[in-house]
Each structure stands twice: as C-alpha cells, then as structure tokens.
C-alpha cells in the first residue's frame, strides 16, 4: 500500500471542501464531552465529504502519536510524527519494538534507516502512484464500488470518533471500518475486513496529539548515518503496451503508474511494474521477461497482501496487492503478451 505519495499531494488531498473540515476542526479536543462534540461535528456530512475530510487530514494534517498495528497474533507499535507546511509533508516513523529502524520522509524521498546493518535504503517517489481524480470526483469514484455507512460515535485514544464502514459492492475488494476524528478528519483507527467481516488487520492510535506545534528536532533521525552504506531504489517510467503487454484490471481499478525497475536492486531481476487502484485497494502487476519458469501454485497471503504468480510465455507474472487472493489471480490471468504491438 502506501503512500499516495510521499511528497506529492495524494489523491485524498487537495480538496478545498475538505480543507474547510480541517480548519474547522483543527482546534485541540477539549476534555468535556468529546463524544457529544463528535456527534455534533459529524452531523450532516455526506459520504463524499467524509472521504474528502479523511483524505485531507491524512496528507495535510500535523499530528504526533503512537500507532499500534495488529495482524493475527502480531502486534507492533510505532511512533509517528507527521508535519505539513508549504514545502509539503514531512514524516518520521520509529519502530518501538523488534529491531530498531526509522522511516524518514521528506519531499519525494523516503529514507529507511537500518541501524543494525548501518544501512540506509532510499526510496524515491517520483513514480509513486497518485490517484488521478481528486476531491469530489475521486471520492465519488470510490463510492461507485463501496457503500459508506455511518455508525455510532466511539472513543479512540481519548477522542470521540465517528465510526464509518466502507462495504465493498462486490467480492473483488476488502471492506474497511474507520474511526474518524470528526474535527480534523484524521483516521484514528482502521480495520480491514474480509468478506465475512473478520478483521484482517487493524491499525489504531493509542495516543495522538493533533494540530499541536512540531519542532524540527522531532523529524530528525535518531542516528547519524555517516559511514553507513546507502542503497538507492530506482525506477523509470515506461509503457507496458509498447512492450507488447496488456493487463485487464477489474472494474473500478485504474492504472496509476508503469515503471521499469530491478527488484531488490538486483541487475539480474529486471521487471516491469504496473500499479492499479480503485481508490482504496492497490495492486501491483510485475512482469519479469526471461525469469526462471515457475510451476502453478495457489495464491499466497501475507497480512493483508495477496500474491499470485503465473507464467506467460517466457515471462513470470506476479500480482501483489491488498485484495482477496481471487482478485490477484484474476488480474494475473488477464495479462497477455502480443508480439505484434
């Protein structure tokens, strides 16, 4: 998944309508009656306006807090500092358990710091996908494939949140349950739901401060990286069709970007990557001409991500995304090659 973009206004962003929600709600939450004030803030907001408010807060809000991630028995905590000003978003994520590592985002660049390896992996977002439709049109597009249901008001991290549910209108996608701070629009808790509504993963703030001043020191890495090895992940824009490839994505999934790259910076693993999204779920299609042939096998799952690999001619095709395994397989089986391009 990830980032509509480090450094660019994401598809959730740039909505003046949403900005109104952010500005209206950026004041600190009082201790008296957060649930009541949440209910008042939520009154009369349409589904499109809800999505716009969430979009804007995710990209243009400033907040600090502790985020707890849970998938099955796996629970991890991270500290996050997110800051936005005229130069764009800046962000620092620190893991609080397991191996120490930090992710520092500034502009189009994310530095992944691995102190035990003394290694920095730099990811560039020049070709990171951005959903093409912003604002009302983008939100409306999402709502062609998900129904937004408004639930009760519940507290998360001490904040009265509006519970929203995005119910997929077909079996191609997962559903989501969202806990939204109505004032800021910030998501304070998210659950990804399977077709039987069991929770695939959930992410929640255990504490959060919204709209408070953030000092530059809070965005700096914990370690000096002098002398560390530096690995740069590079990709270059391309068009799959020019190389004879076509992918038929399911209804609602739009092609966002197509690149050439080397997987894991391995020069022997050249791949084409096309990214599709329906506005919530995102899928990557990898095509590796000349890769060693693979035998058919079932789709794989890891956390919320599914993967399916098949052989098309002399190329290995792998589809990865936060969609049900059947969707990954359907997309993989739609990949065609034509030598007459």
């Amino acid at each position: 998944m990830s980032g509509s973009g480090f450094g660019r206004v994401g598809w959730w962003g740039a909505s003046l309508v949403g900005a109104a929600f952010w500005l209206a709600g950026s004041a600190a939450h009082g201790e008296d009656g957060p649930v009541d004030s949440a209910a008042a803030s939520a009154r009369g907001r349409s589904p499109v306006q809800w999505l716009q408010a969430i979009e804007l807060a995710a990209q243009r809000g400033s907040y600090t807090g502790t985020i707890v991630y849970q998938h099955g028995d796996e629970v991890r905590a991270s500290r996050i500092v997110h800051f936005f000003d005229a130069s764009g978003p800046r962000e620092r994520v620190q893991t609080l358990d397991g191996r120490p590592r930090e992710f520092i985002r500034q502009g189009d660049q994310v530095q992944c710091l691995y102190p035990q390896q003394h290694r920095v992996v730099i990811e560039h977002a020049r070709h990171r996908a951005a959903f093409p439709a912003l604002g009302e049109a983008g939100s409306a597009s999402v709502l062609e494939h998900y129904a937004l249901q408004q639930g009760d008001v519940e507290r998360v991290a001490g904040v009265g949140c509006q519970v929203l549910k995005l119910v997929p209108l077909d079996t191609l996608r997962y559903g989501y349950r969202l806990w939204v701070d109505p004032g800021s629009g910030l998501l304070l808790k998210v659950q990804m739901l399977s077709s039987d509504e069991s929770v695939i993963e959930q992410i929640a703030f255990s504490d959060v401060r919204i709209g408070e001043p953030i000092s530059p020191a809070q965005l700096k890495p914990s370690w000096s990286t002098n002398g560390w090895s530096v690995v740069r992940r590079e990709s270059h824009a391309t068009e799959l069709s020019r190389q004879g490839w076509s992918v038929t994505a399911p209804d609602g999934f739009r092609r966002l970007t197509e690149v050439e790259r080397n997987l894991e910076n391995d020069p022997t693993r050249a791949a084409l990557q096309a990214v599709y999204s329906d506005g919530l779920a995102t899928v990557s299609v990898f095509i590796e001409p000349g890769a060693p042939a693979v035998e058919p096998e079932p789709a794989q799952r890891r956390g919320p991500l599914s993967a399916f690999t098949r052989q098309v001619g002399d190329a290995r095709v792998t589809v990865v995304g936060d969609v049900p395994p059947t969707t990954a397989r359907t997309i993989a089986e739609s990949v065609r090659f034509s030598a007459d391009h």
Binding site: M1, S2, G3, S4, G5, G10, W12, A58, I67, Y69, G72, R76, S78, I80, V93, G98, R99, F103, R105, C112, Y114, Q116, Q117, E123, H127, R128, A129, L166, L187, S195, D196, S198, I203, R233, S235, E264, D266, R269, Q273, S277, L280, A281, T282, S284, V294, E295, P296, E297, P298, A299, R301, R302, G303, P304, T318, V320, D322, P324, P325, T326
Partner: protein
C-alpha cells in the same frame, strides 16, 4: 499429535544453520543467497530445517499465517515454549530471533525442543493433509488452487524467497488507501532488515 514424542533428526552443521537463518532474515548478499537456494534444492535435511524455521517464525509472528501450515500451530508453539524452563520470553521472540536461537543452539533447549516436539511432527502431519485443512484462511478465502499439481520443493522455496521483493516493490510505488501513507512502513516494520 503426541506432544511428548521426540523425533531424532540428523542436524546440519551449526554454520549451515546460521547461514540458513541469515538467509531467511534477508541478511545474505545476492551471491550467498543464490548459493543457499541451490543448496536447499539438493539438501533434503537442510530443507527440513528451512521448513521448520519458517513455520516457527510464522507461528511466532502470526496466528493466521501459522494456520496455513496446520491449525493451532501458533498456540502449540507458544505452549511448548511456555512449558520449557527457559529464560526466554515467548512474547519477546520474533521469528528471526527464534530461528537464530535455534540455529546457534545457544542455551535454547526450549526452542530446540519446540522444533523437535511440535514443529517437525506437525510438518509431517501437514504433508498428509490437504494444504488448507483447518486453515481459517481457507474458510474465508478460496486460496487453494485445486487444479495445481502438488508443489515441488524448489517452487515453494522460490516463492518464499522472492515474495519479499514483490511486497517491497509494491510498497514503494503503491498508492495509499484510506490510511495515512506511513502505514505501509508500519506494516513492514517487522520485516527483516535489508
């Protein structure tokens, strides 16, 4: 499965197991990793340990993933660790740490016993069962490919060793959903260093 039954298995050299563990953690250079894959293709006993390390790691990391191997495996692994007189805290063992302890055999009777008592017998049992038998994933998601032939070991190895690369590449370029973009990095914070 009788949890008190122990199975004698020839054990590869510690250095081989350490290399295997490092490979699983993504800590080998490309050439070393390729050599490890080649060795695994030809060394049946090393493959058994590869499977055991992987299952143990899965069990410690995730109930759901462990259930791909056999139902309640995660609970069994945790119970086995709980029952051992060891200073190690099960909750503190990430998959890679567990493997490393098992690989080096340093004061880890509990983990070694867990492998012999729980994981290896379970692996054998799971080979006789349907791949998705008892899996909650199978109950909710039609993952199984009924028309596919039984997996060859090399294919399984290749799939496991290469999926990380796809997940990482996907994370780098994929658009965000409703969640803040940092979630992608939070999700991957338990991955091996790279």
């Amino acid at each position: 499965m009788n949890s008190t039954q122990r199975t004698e298995e020839p054990v590869p050299a510690d250095s081989d197991l350490e290399l295997l563990s490092a490979w699983l953690d993504g800590e080998l250079e490309a050439a070393q990793a390729g050599a490890m894959v080649d060795r695994l293709k030809g060394d049946a006993m090393l493959r058994v340990h590869f499977e055991a390390f992987s299952v143990a790691g899965d069990a410690m990391r995730s109930q759901e993933v462990a259930a791909c191997h056999v139902a309640e495996l995660a609970s069994r692994v945790r119970r086995a660790l709980d029952a051992e007189p060891t200073r190690l805290s099960p909750g503190a063992l990430a998959g890679s740490q567990l493997r490393r302890h098992v690989a080096t055999g340093v004061g880890v009777a509990a983990a070694a016993a867990m492998l012999a008592v729980v994981v290896l017998p379970q692996l054998r049992g799971s080979e006789m069962a349907s791949p998705q038998t008892g899996s909650p994933i199978a109950a909710t998601e039609p993952v199984a490919n009924k028309g596919a032939p039984k997996h060859s070991v090399p294919n399984t190895l290749a799939a496991r060793s290469t999926l990380d690369a796809y997940f990482r590449a996907h994370r780098e370029l994929a658009a965000t959903g409703v969640m803040p973009s940092a979630v992608a990095y939070i999700r991957s914070s338990g991955e091996p260093d790279r």
